[in-house]
């Protein structure tokens, strides 16, 4: 399942705040790196992906850093709309 957050054109730190809200909406919120170790033995739910659209490199760095800092994997793709769009894909193992 995938969720999309459109944070293009918003100033700092709104893209991060919206990403955090999206994580909370699907019932996960922030995990610390320390608690991440037990993840392997847990039964991972269905894979969820949150795609965050941003339009500048600072926001892209901030959202990726926030995702990693919160214990999730994040990778960045160039957006379909050219230079002005980055898509940060945050992979989340849901607890459905």
């Amino acid at each position: 399942m995938s969720h999309r957050v459109d944070a293009r054109g918003l100033s700092c730190p709104q893209p991060v705040v919206m990403t955090r809200k999206a994580l909370e909406t699907i019932g996960l919120g922030i995990r610390t790196r320390a608690s991440r170790g037990s993840e392997v033995s847990d039964d991972p739910g269905p894979l969820e992906v949150i795609e965050v659209l941003v339009d500048n490199r600072t926001a892209m760095e901030n959202v990726s850093r926030f995702a990693r800092h919160s214990g999730y994997d994040a990778d960045v793709q160039a957006g379909e709309e050219g230079d002005d769009c980055y898509i940060v894909r945050i992979c989340v193992k849901g607890r459905a």
């Binding site: 459109d6 054109g9 919206m18 500048n56 800092h69």
Partner: protein
């Protein structure tokens, strides 16, 4: 990449801290090697927008920040004309951020430098600044927004760098219609080339690192991320060490350079700056850097600060070493009320457009 980013922000903070002490040694006012608010105020005076004779000088550092940021952004392919996110509101916020800064007597950067010089009044300022950012962060969490910016014509991005170049021409040519203090803080200045070079370096490094004094505390509060705060800490540590080595460190409240000891208005002045900076998305230095990257909204905040500084002196709002003025206290209260109204309207606006912004499961 994460490690790299951290190193860049630490280096930027350390260099800003070091250059601030170097500029103070080279002639800038004490504990004011770099102060974005004070220097914009001096520029307002240099242009004759206010007539406070002791604080008039077209400080080359500020055009340096803007042009340094522009060059770094161009080199990195990050220069991008954008704007249209509530420009007038950003002007107003910039205006009142300047009012708060001049009641305290310093921008967030100078607040850190003052503390690194042993000025304990700045500790009251940091508490106020943190309180203001905390309030701003909770508004952001509730959805406060000034709306989206969009791509614009390149002229919008060039306006403030062009003004910066013009200011540099004026300070070098020094025509008779430009003002320059012969006494007071405005007469204490590092040589033009030093000031410009330092400004360019700070501008470029701050652009690369996204250094932001308000962002440092905001991210700690909002997402418990110490990344930007590490730059804040680096400024403090390096400036502190250099001040101690060069014998400039003097611990205490009374008799500190260009400072007053009224703790309440030090607190409230910086609370105003913190709240305004959180709503704007960055401290005064960050606004200069964003303006250099082509952000026309940040340019409006900069112009708001310039006009705010002129009013602050024309209307007797600025504090002096003797303390805050009655007008300054009134203006601080007005600033907080105006910001509260802007915050309320910004949350209302986000409520209406929320549905469009976050689309649910696909």
């Amino acid at each position: 990449m994460a490690l790299n980013q951290r190193r860049v922000v630490l280096i930027a903070g350390a260099v800003v801290g070091a250059l601030s002490v170097v500029l103070a040694v080279a002639g800038n006012p004490a504990n004011m090697g770099i102060c974005v608010a004070c220097f914009i105020r001096d520029i307002a005076g240099g242009l004759g927008l206010h007539r406070a004779e002791v604080v008039q000088y077209l400080r080359p550092e500020v055009p340096g920040f803007i042009i340094g940021s522009m060059l770094a952004a161009l080199a990195a392919g990050e220069f991008r004309a954008r704007g249209g996110s509530s420009p007038v509101i950003r002007f107003v916020l910039g205006f009142f951020v300047m009012i708060g800064a001049l009641v305290f007597l310093g921008c967030p950067l100078r607040m850190v430098l003052r503390l690194a010089g042993g000025d304990l009044n700045a500790a009251c300022g940091i508490l106020g600044f943190t309180a203001g950012i905390w309030a701003g962060a909770s508004l952001l969490r509730r959805g406060f927004t000034l709306g989206r910016s969009a791509r614009m014509g390149v002229g919008n991005a060039m306006a403030l760098p062009a003004l910066s170049l013009f200011l540099l021409v004026l300070v070098i040519v020094a025509p008779t219609f430009v003002f320059a203090s012969s006494t007071g803080p405005g007469s204490a200045r590092a040589p033009i080339l030093w000031a410009l070079a330092a400004g360019l370096v700070v501008g470029a490094l701050a652009q690369r690192s996204r250094l932001c004094l308000a962002g440092g505390i905001r991210d700690l509060i909002l997402i418990r991320d110490p990344h930007l705060f590490s730059g804040f800490a680096a400024i403090f540590v390096v400036a502190l060490v250099l001040n101690v080595i060069s014998g400039r460190f003097r611990l205490g409240f009374a008799g500190q350079p260009v400072a007053h000891t009224d703790w309440l208005w030090n607190f409230l002045g910086m609370a105003t700056v913190g709240l305004g900076a959180a709503l704007l998305g960055g401290c005064p230095l960050r606004q200069c850097i964003l303006a250099g990257e082509g952000d026309a909204d940040a340019a409006m905040a900069f112009l708001g600060m310039l006009v705010g500084a002129a009013f602050a002196h024309n209307w007797g709002i600025t504090s002096s070493p003797a303390g805050p003025t009655a007008n300054g206290k009134a203006a601080t209260v007005v600033a907080l009320v105006v910001m509260a109204i802007i915050a309320y309207m910004g949350i209302e606006a986000s409520g209406k457009s929320n549905k469009q912004r976050t689309t649910g499961e696909a």
